[in-house]
């Protein structure tokens, strides 16, 4: 087994462990920390594929900015441990079959794709920061601007909600 494969399985196991611990932890802060572990492990996987820029942005945006806000809000609300209740009927009869179906679909997709997928760096699209910014501001400029607009609307909405009490 090559070194890259060993690192891949280590990071993948870390990501899965983090995701499982995210659900099983009883304290919101511990869940948030598990999610950060997942984000950092994913960044490592991106790095393994040669997408350095995406990896760094994954940590800066998701691992840093987004999760800091999660942790900040949980700390500010001083949320305590969650109480365990019995499984609701919806979870038993809707959730478990759906989860099994999703697992089946993913397994089928993996089984069908014989042969290797080329790493993103080899195809020359994701490799450099310059390439990504060129794509972002030429081919994908409308989706990009629309996303910015969406975020602006969300910010305005948050301000309106916060100001309502006064």
């Amino acid at each position: 087994m090559s070194g890259v494969l060993v690192i891949f399985f280590l990071l993948a196991a870390l990501a899965v462990l983090g995701a499982v611990s995210l659900i099983l932890q009883r304290h919101p802060i511990h869940s948030a920390l598990s999610l950060i572990l997942v984000m950092v492990a994913l960044a490592g996987l991106y790095l393994l594929m040669g997408a350095e820029f995406i990896a760094a942005v994954q940590i800066i945006v998701y691992g840093g900015a987004v999760m800091v806000l999660f942790v900040f809000v949980i700390m500010l609300l001083n949320a305590g441990e969650e109480e365990r209740t019995n499984f609701s009927k919806l979870a038993t009869f809707g959730g478990i079959p759906l989860a099994l179906a999703l697992g089946g679909v993913i397994a089928a997709a993996i089984a069908r794709s014989s042969g290797h997928l080329p790493p993103p760096a080899a195809s020359g699209v994701m490799s450099s920061t310059k390439e990504i910014s060129k794509l972002l501001f030429s081919e994908f400029v409308y989706p990009f601007e629309l996303t910015s607009f969406l975020i602006l609307v969300a910010i305005l909405g948050a301000i309106v909600l916060a100001q309502r009490e006064n």
């Binding site: 802060i29 960044a43 350095e52 820029f53 760094a56 691992g63 800091v68 700390m75």
Partner: protein
Amino acid sequence: MSEILAKYGFLIVPIIKILILVFVVLTLDAYLTWLERKVIAHIQARWGPHRVGPHGLLQPLADGIKFILKEDPMPAGVDKMAYFFAPFLTLMLALTSLAIIPFGPDITIFGYTTNFGIADVNISLLVLFAITALGVYGIALAGWGSNNKYSLLGGLRSSAQMISYELALTLSVVGVLLIAGDLSLKHIVEKQAGDLGLLSWNIIGIRKDGTDFTQIIGCICFFIAAIAETNRVPFDLPEAESELVAGFHTEYASMKFAMFFIGEYTSMIAVSSLFTILFFGGWLSPFPASWTMTHYLPSIILVPLGLWVILDGIRYETVFGRVILPGLGAVFTALGIALFLSSTVNELIQGPFWFFAKVGAVLFFYIWMRATLPRFRYDQLMDFGWKFLLPVSILNVVLTSAFIMWRMK
């Protein structure tokens, strides 16, 4: 020798470099605390530490022993995971950030060429920001996990402060990136080389290649935001002792407190290095390259320093004063003479010499500010970050890109 290096160099050389860097940085941290206490004391017309060893030079050692021997009580009701993990995270991230920094140009030893730093990543600036982004968790978790209202308030304040100032920190660098056209710290430094010495650095920026736009606005914004990111005076609200006892590390003692302390000083060094690289030409000499006489500056400084240390040491009656100080002075003098005689070694030492001289000057400025400025009030801090620093750094981005567009026509 060279065959082994060619075969296993990729593994051996980084390990040696990591060991050297950790040793140098931890020693530097220890003596930075000594320097800080000494400089602040002299600014305030006091003596500072002067009992343990000549000039208090052994004080960091005494502090270290005290940290190790102290009792380490754990308060009741702490969240064990967060409480134990936080100091490790802070120190680990601070030390990791140093791995990206280039301390000098590439060097060749025994026919093996390597970069002067641990890792040479082509997106090093982004990696550094990624590490800074994770740095908030150490302080936030310490504050929350300690089960203490002062710690919690300190942790919350620090999270809010770091989120606010991270924006200005990142945006103030964009001007430099536009000029260099690259995210690699090594290339950013190489871009600042010019015939005019220090006039070619980004802070002044006369290079006559269409990118000569001064980054003084970005420089000032970066420095202010960097002080806030490292939680130093006048932005040390997370540990404001007049209102929060000691903020997020109120409940920490012994080595766990020491880890926060070392982490803070290490990130000070990392931020000063980054500041030097981005705006003050990194390892480049402030003199034009044609002034070869200035290459003897390290010798000119080292020889008198060594002689003074010898003379100063023999005045004392202790072993440290009589033996170690003159020994150290002799080493300095010998090093200075060796550099003067061997021009190859002298050329090798030029880059790191200027780099550490500049970083030292920035660190001195840090300490100077701590001794001079009063602390901000919390609402002033937030107002300043969002309503002044952020718009000004955006203005810098707009001005720089407009200038570059205008010159490219």
